[in-house]
Amino acid sequence: MAKYAMLIDPSRCTGCAACGIACQLQWQLPKEMHYNHLEFAEKGKYPEAWLEILPVQCQHCEDAPCLKHCPTDATYRREDGIVDVDPEECIECQICVQACPYDVRVVNQETGVPEKCKFCSDFVDQGETPACVSTCMNEVRIFGDLDDPDSEISKAMAKEDTYQLLAEEGTEPRVYYVLKGEKIEFSGK
């Protein structure tokens, strides 16, 4: 069984937002609903100033607070580690929205179900790559199987220093970030 994960290199991101809209078309989301987004932050003082961008989405935590707190098991983890939501089981209590420290649950206004990034599970099952990965001109994201030592992500993880967002929360995310210089921390903004 695969162990799916994503490696994101924020230093390569130029903020074009293609990842967000590629995901929306993939899942035919209404325009207000985003499974992923970008955090922008300015650093330094002119003219020694620079921009930081952090792509954020469901972290597919191994110890997912949303899953732990879900009263109906609507939120579940697949064997490959993808955290998904079964809308049939969801009672729309929205506890998961509160529980998620990354604030990446988005409530579908039609169904009331708090949805989120699914690592493009249905498409990955068909051998495809998640839409946010395949559209990206800067190759910010790598998706793949950590159990396969020859996968692109395993090789990149071996080569790069990485970190996880809010590691101190103990959520053990399956989304890793490449560490170059100082950490770009999750701000929730």
Binding site: C13, M33, W50, N108, T111, C136, N138
Partner: protein
């Protein structure tokens, strides 16, 4: 064939059904039937900007679902930017013009049949040509996809007036390269060791494969330096961002050249053998030292020296990126700036060198000739004066001077205007001035949506079908990034037209029939395509299916063109001409010399207003796109940028509404006070300021730089000088 599990797909798509309820074919119908439906992938070329990236559009039950990038296509290599996805989604935009419209009052239109539209327009056009000759008729378009058809119409009625939008885009660059080089060269980014980008933002005016190439070079150790008043998106992945005072790039370039020449760092052999009039250039610019430039550009002299030396050290695998829109239609000194781009690259000897500048790999295509062509008619001089002695002799006639047309309409010189895929009311300077277009007796707009030009000036609106609903003749993918093998790409019909809209060729046939020119349009897009691919060993079916074909059997030999051992560029000397004869003959300097920008901000509340492409919009063409405007909403994308320290001095904070005032307009807008902008300017994205009430998503959102810019003409290349404008900024009431 692909299946998606019902559970996740249908649930996720239910909400989209409501959003699309106004469509003929609702998304819920589609979703209901979608589970087992096969997915077909059909090829098109994105219409989100002029790169025309290759897209495979996924179609299910006749409905467009999503797109993936064509992995072959030179411009995008499998990737798609946000605009590309937005353009795919936008086929279901409810704001499209759905059938021909006739103006029946101020802001009032009546739907009419195509037959009625063609008959009425034909009658009026014939009358205008009879009374005022064909010279009073102009065809304006973005350029150049309507040209083949427009030329037939214009030839038939006897008009030389084919005009493009390029005066707002890059006419300084194309004019200069045509005159100094006789060709265009492009950065070989992937193989370069040092790249200097000045006013060129691959991550804003996005070239997906350009970004891939730049980042690949960076991984191999190449250095990337971005000089820009704004820390643009490309600067984020560069090694260095060096802010420059806007409008002074020419001084920066002159000083770079000074260092390269003074320190004897130039490629002597290249300059000796392939450059004409080096001495004339150097004699005119011996005083342009880095210290001189520091005061003008705000870049320290030592930094200018460092950049010049680094360029020379890495030559020929280094270059100054030849650029695009940024700088080449913006300033009084844009032409001289563009000349200096060639001078610096020539001094580096990087031309026709790997890692430097290369030509596009090209193929010989067949030329389509319609069986019957209109008899030759006598034509007067071009009405805009482009390329005409005594008027704008040095301006490229093929580009034209669109900003002259409203005035000429007001004066009664221009009587009929056809506007195709072009919206000068929003993308040209001074919208109130542009509105004078309606003074022409007949204005026909051929758009997709209710753009400002159609809404405010057109007597008739003839809606073209969406780009995914039509096929067009093949195009080569060449330009801006280099490639060893030529490619041919084609836009094919992804879905049938949903509404009562037509492809341009059918619109032209309808018009032609009414004015007695029917026989000259007796061909199809397939006829055109077959003639074009005739010399190639491919079938049309093959091209349609692949969408983009690469010709690996064509060799690519990047060497300076020689003929009998002599330099053979398409210039008078065959060499790179540092001095342009036609400029001299018309009273301008042949070599570039320092010219200050036309206007300079001096007071505490004065700024130069500059603009740029936001990564998810393509100037104004995408601004009525609901998905892309949602990105704007998410990231406060309409805000005007202002330098933090300057904002502090004026008591302005991020989120404040400010009043922006130029000589011709006063507007209010929210600001972003930022460390990422030169203090002398304010910056706005070029996407906003919609003022067509029928384009609801864009209407009233944000401001546009063109609101503030007067209609001006740079005398050599005819550009609009879109950044020669000073605005006063003060805190607003809100």
């Amino acid at each position: 064939m692909q299946k998606i599990s019902r559970r996740s797909f249908l649930k996720a798509t239910a909400a989209a059904g409501a959003a699309s309820a106004s469509l003929k074919f609702s998304f819920s119908d589609f979703a209901e039937a979608a589970e087992d439906a096969p997915v077909e992938k059909r090829h098109t070329l994105c219409n989100g900007c002029s790169n025309l990236c290759g897209l495979f559009v996924h179609v299910k039950n006749g409905r467009v679902w999503k797109a993936e990038g064509n992995p072959i296509h030179l411009k995008n290599r499998g990737k798609i930017c946000a605009r590309g996805h937005g353009m795919v989604a936008d086929i279901y935009n409810p704001d499209r013009v759905t059938q021909p419209m006739k103006r029946v009052g101020e802001d009032q239109f009546e739907p009419i049949s195509w037959e009625q539209a063609f008959a009425e327009i034909g009658e009026q056009l014939t009358d205008i040509v009879d009374r005022y000759t064909g010279d009073s008729v102009v065809w304006m378009e973005h350029g150049v996809r309507g040209k083949d058809y427009a030329d037939i119409l214009l030839d038939y009625i006897g008009s030389p007036n084919y005009i493009t939008h390029y005066a707002t885009c890059f006419t300084a660059k194309t004019n200069v390269w045509a005159n100094m080089m006789g060709t265009n060269l492009y950065g070989d980014h992937e193989n370069s060791d040092y790249m200097l980008f000045v006013g060129r933002n691959f991550a804003g005016g996005i070239l997906p494969n350009g970004m891939q190439k730049v980042l690949k070079a960076k991984e191999k150790g190449a250095k990337i330096v971005v000089v820009d008043p704004r820390c643009c998106e490309l600067a984020k992945v560069a090694d260095e961002w060096i802010p420059i005072r806007p409008g002074t790039d020419l001084a920066f370039y002159l000083a770079i050249a000074h260092v390269i020449i003074e320190e004897d760092l130039k490629d002597r052999k290249f300059v000796r053998e392939y450059v004409e009039n080096f001495d004339e250039f150097w004699n005119a610019n011996r005083n342009c030292t880095p210290e001189w430039a520091e005061g003008i550009t705000d870049i320290p002299a030592d930094k200018i020296r460092e950049i010049a030396r680094d360029l020379a050290k890495h030559a020929p695998r280094s270059f100054l990126e030849p650029g695009y829109h940024g700088l080449n239609a913006h300033y009084k000194n844009s032409v001289q700036q563009a000349q200096m781009n060639i001078v610096i690259n020539a001094l580096l000897g990087n031309m026709y060198q790997r890692g430097g500048l290369l030509p596009s790999a090209s193929i010989e295509l067949g030329q389509f000739e319609p069986e019957q062509q209109p008899p030759e008619k006598e034509m007067g001089p071009r009405i805009d004066g482009a390329g005409e002695d005594g008027k704008y002799a040095t301006v490229e006639a093929a580009r034209g001077i669109p900003q002259r047309i409203p005035q000429l309409a007001e004066e009664g010189e221009v009587r009929a205007i056809f506007v195709y895929h072009y919206n000068p009311l929003r993308t040209g300077p001074n919208p109130e001035y542009q509105k004078k277009m309606k003074e022409a007796d007949l204005v026909v707009s051929i758009p997709i949506d209710w753009n400002e030009t159609s809404y405010h000036t057109a007597d008739y609106i003839l809606p073209e079908c969406y780009f995914m609903e039509r096929a067009e003749p093949p195009v080569t993918t060449a330009g801006h990034v280099t490639h060893d093998y030529p490619q041919l790409a084609m836009r094919t019909e992804v879905v049938e037209p949903m509404e009562d809209t037509k492809p341009l060729i059918d619109i032209m046939k309808g018009l032609a029939k009414e004015i007695g020119a029917e026989e000259y349009f007796d061909f199809t897009v397939e006829d055109q395509a077959r003639a074009m691919i005739e010399p190639l060993d491919i079938s049309l079916e093959q091209l349609k299916e692949a969408g983009c074909l690469e010709f690996r059997n064509q060799s690519f030999d990047p060497e300076f063109p020689l003929s009998g051992g002599e330099p053979a560029l398409d210039t008078p000397s065959g060499k790179v001409e540092f001095s342009v004869g036609i400029y001299k003959a018309n009273g301008f300097s042949g070599v570039p010399r320092w010219i200050p920008p036309k206007v300079i901000p001096r007071e505490e509340d004065e700024f130069r207003l500059i603009h740029g492409k936001q990564p998810w919009h393509s100037h104004h063409i995408t601004s009525n796109n609901p998905y892309l405007m949602e990105i704007t909403e998410m990231y406060d994308g309409t805000r005007m940028w202002i330098n933090k320290e300057r904002a502090d001095q004026l008591g302005i904070e991020t989120g404040d509404t400010v009043v922006v005032e130029s000589e011709i307009a006063t507007k209010e807008i929210e600001v972003k006070a930022t460390e990422l902008l030169h203090p002398d300017c304010v910056w706005v994205p070029s996407a906003y300021g919609g003022f067509s009430e029928k384009a609801e998503t864009a209407y009233g959102v944000g401001i546009n730089y063109n609101d503030f810019v007067s209609e001006e003409i740079e005398p050599i290349a005819g550009s609009v000088m879109g950044q020669e404008v000073i605005v006063k900024v003060r805190k607003g009431e809100k």
